[in-house]
């Protein structure tokens, strides 16, 4: 592991921030404060964080419907994110996108996406732009186990491999596509087995071990940066909540849920940090409290921000 103390504490903080952000959304969604669909990243924090710890601002990511974690990990602004979830003018998308479409192109965040699997071609295109401009940047496409069955997975991996593009296909296998367990939607265990069909490397790691994720993604990203083409990285993880808020997740076996809760990535990293003597409990408590305060502030910012003017409906359809 080549992660220094500061880096690992940063990673911890990011994970806590995602946890706090998402936990807050549980609360405000239940309170009826936000409309539409929200898909939460609780339990999967190690994936986005471990991956994005390898990325620079110039690098791109394409995210999913379950995007908050990716956006925070890539440096997204909490206030602008929260305001967007609330549909306010100060949100990233001026309230036009909502949870499923948050984006920050300046930070290389090419958007959450409401269409499962749509991010893979987009990331492939961004990677093409990186190669075309020869600027050393890379792109990462996040997508789920369910998305690995979509058309776009196949076409994107094949093109990226054929064109040797600097892109990493980062599969978050949380075992579920809504109510479908992995084995009911595909006949394989390791999604990374699909890599060989494109002539690229594939690797599977424990997605709840942020260090393992960091390392596997890091190797793939380095490979991409060096010009050696794409890699398929599968992170095995679990979503703590239902598919979207409002889904009780009754299809999950409670025993599985219990097992996976024991593998929660945050306590796991905490243990590690304590063992490595990178922190004492009080440090960790402080970090957690800080992130929670940040989220409180973001909510305050969002709630006190103005709703869009109805005339805003008509703007931003075309660039002129």
């Amino acid at each position: 592991m080549d992660l220094k103390k500061e880096q690992l504490l940063d990673i911890y903080k990011k994970m806590c921030t995602i946890r706090a952000f998402e936990s807050k959304i549980v609360e405000i969604f239940a309170a009826g404060k936000i409309p539409g669909f929200v898909h939460l990243y609780l339990g999967e924090e190690a994936v986005a964080t471990g991956v994005c710890a390898n990325l620079e601002t110039k690098d791109f990511i394409a995210s999913t419907h379950r995007g908050h974690g990716h956006l925070i990990a890539k440096g997204g602004d909490l206030k602008s994110m929260m305001a967007e979830v609330f549909g306010r003018t100060t949100g990233y998308c001026k309230g036009k996108g909502g949870s499923m479409h948050i984006a920050d192109v300046d930070l290389g965040i090419l958007g959450a996406n409401g269409i499962v699997g749509a991010g893979m071609p987009i990331a492939t295109g961004a990677a093409f732009a990186c190669k075309y401009k020869n600027n050393g940047a890379v792109a990462v496409a996040f997508f789920g186990d369910g998305a690995s069955d979509r058309a776009t997975f196949h076409e994107a991996l094949n093109l990226a491999s054929t064109w040797k593009l600097p892109v990493v296909f980062l599969c978050e296998n949380n075992g579920w596509a809504i109510s479908n367990s992995q084995k009911t939607h595909q006949n394989i265990t390791d999604i990374s087995d699909r890599a060989s069909g494109y002539g690229i490397p594939g690797v599977s790691v424990d997605g709840n071990d942020v260090i393992a994720v960091y390392e596997a993604a890091g190797a793939a990203i380095e490979r991409a940066r060096k010009g050696d083409g794409p890699t398929l990285v599968e992170c095995k993880t679990w979503r703590h909540r239902g598919h979207f808020e409002g889904d009780p997740g009754a299809y999950k076996d409670p025993k599985d849920q219990e097992e996976w809760l024991k593998k929660d990535p945050i306590p796991r990293l905490e243990k590690n940090l304590l063992k490595l003597n990178y922190a004492v409990q009080a440090d960790l408590d402080k970090i957690k409290a800080d992130t929670e305060a940040d989220i409180e502030e973001a909510v305050k910012f969002a709630e006190s921000s103005p709703l869009p003017d109805p005339q805003e409906l008509f703007t931003d359809v075309y660039a002129d």
């Binding site: 936000i34 409309p35 539409g36 669909f37 549909g87 306010r88 998308c93 309230g95 036009k96 996108g97 909502g98 499923m100 479409h101 996406n113 409401g114 269409i115 499962v116 699997g117 369910g146 998305a147 069955d149 979509r150 058309a151 596509a177 809504i178 109510s179 479908n180 009911t184 939607h185 595909q186 299809y251 709703l307 869009p308 109805p310 805003e312 409906l313 008509f314 359809v317």
Partner: protein, 323 residues
């Protein structure tokens, strides 16, 4: 008659037809034990078992594409696409395969399949989960397009769609799923291609379907209070379109307003307007008007979404401007 929600009525329509014909089956994402993303398939899995109610991977192209093959091979699939917004992922299978197979084969194939899919805004689901785009389907010779506005129509048109020997796109509106109404029990078929005059009137013809039909009806009640007696026609199926009923009504009222939730440009209102501007030109005593969504994607924030949607008020205002 039995009180049912629109969702229950769709389910009952499928149930009765599945009981009647063992070749009818249902496939889609999360339609089995989970009962469908909006609960429409509900208990059908428990009633008919895993052979006839099947979950699929997230693979819209093969959901529709396999249905084409299964239908050509003698089954009658009902394929669910979770949101009509996802039809972009399987348009080839719909428009080049399902729709054209019979014609390309010189009439020597039958492709009896239903693609069920929910449409519509109003729940803050933003640009990729809220669309109406029926006009695309109406532009594809070889398929039929069904858009029920009431629970009874939902059931009867589902039966007709399943029994039809052609591919049918059956579009249910998310905002109607919970709406209740009287629904005939047992076998019940509403023929495709037969409009329903949901309200008789003499001063203006309003054509609307799906959720907008409900809005048009409500607007008509308010207009009646203001002395304007609107006739409200629900075509129920856009293809085949019961244009005679529309022309007959316009011949009586002299005025036509079309309401839909699709964006304005190239929405199906344009087609109806064009038909009447041709075949009903002499009946018209005023410009043909449309109340539709504007030409924008669908915004997330409820303030904006409300501004986006056609509404009772917008309909009333448009009608009043025609007098």
């Amino acid at each position: 008659m039995k009180q049912m929600t629109y969702a229950e009525a769709i389910r009952d329509g499928m149930r009765v037809e599945m009981q009647r014909d063992p070749n009818v089956y249902l496939a889609g994402e999360d339609v089995a034990q989970f009962g469908g993303c909006f609960g429409v398939t509900g208990t059908l899995y428990d009633e008919f078992g895993p052979q006839r109610v099947l979950n699929t991977p997230i693979s819209e192209a093969v959901i529709v594409g396999h249905a084409v093959g299964a239908a050509a091979a003698g089954l009658r699939p009902i394929a669910e696409i979770m949101f009509v917004d996802f039809m972009g992922c399987c348009m080839d299978e719909l428009f080049n395969q399902a729709a054209k197979m019979r014609y390309m084969f010189g009439g020597k194939a039958k492709v009896p399949m239903v693609v069920r899919t929910p449409c519509g805004a109003g729940m803050g689901a933003a640009a990729q989960h809220s669309q109406c785009m029926e006009s695309w389907f109406t532009h594809i010779p070889g398929i039929k397009t069904v858009m029920p506005s009431t629970p009874a129509d939902a059931k009867g048109l589902m039966a007709a769609a399943i029994r039809d020997d052609n591919p049918v796109v059956y579009i249910e509106h998310k905002q109607l799923l919970g709406v209740s109404g009287d629904v005939p029990e047992g076998e019940y078929v509403v023929p495709l291609g037969k409009a329903d005059i949901k309200r008789e009137g003499s001063d203006i013809t309003i054509v609307a379907w799906s959720w907008m039909m409900q809005k048009a009806l409500a607007a008509a009640e308010q207009l009646a209070a203001k002395g304007i007696n609107a006739e409200v026609i629900d075509p129920r199926t856009l293809i085949p379109l019961d244009k005679d009923e529309i022309l007959k009504s316009v011949s009586k009222t002299g005025k036509l307003l079309i309401v839909h939730e699709e964006v304005k440009t190239s929405g199906f209102a344009g087609e109806i307007a064009a038909i009447v501007a041709d075949e009903g030109f002499d009946y018209l005593d005023a410009p043909i008007k449309r109340v539709t969504a504007p030409d924008t994607p669908i915004p997330f924030s409820p303030v904006l979404e409300t501004a986006y949607l056609p509404s009772e008020e917008k309909i009333i205002k448009a009608v009043e401007e025609m007098f």
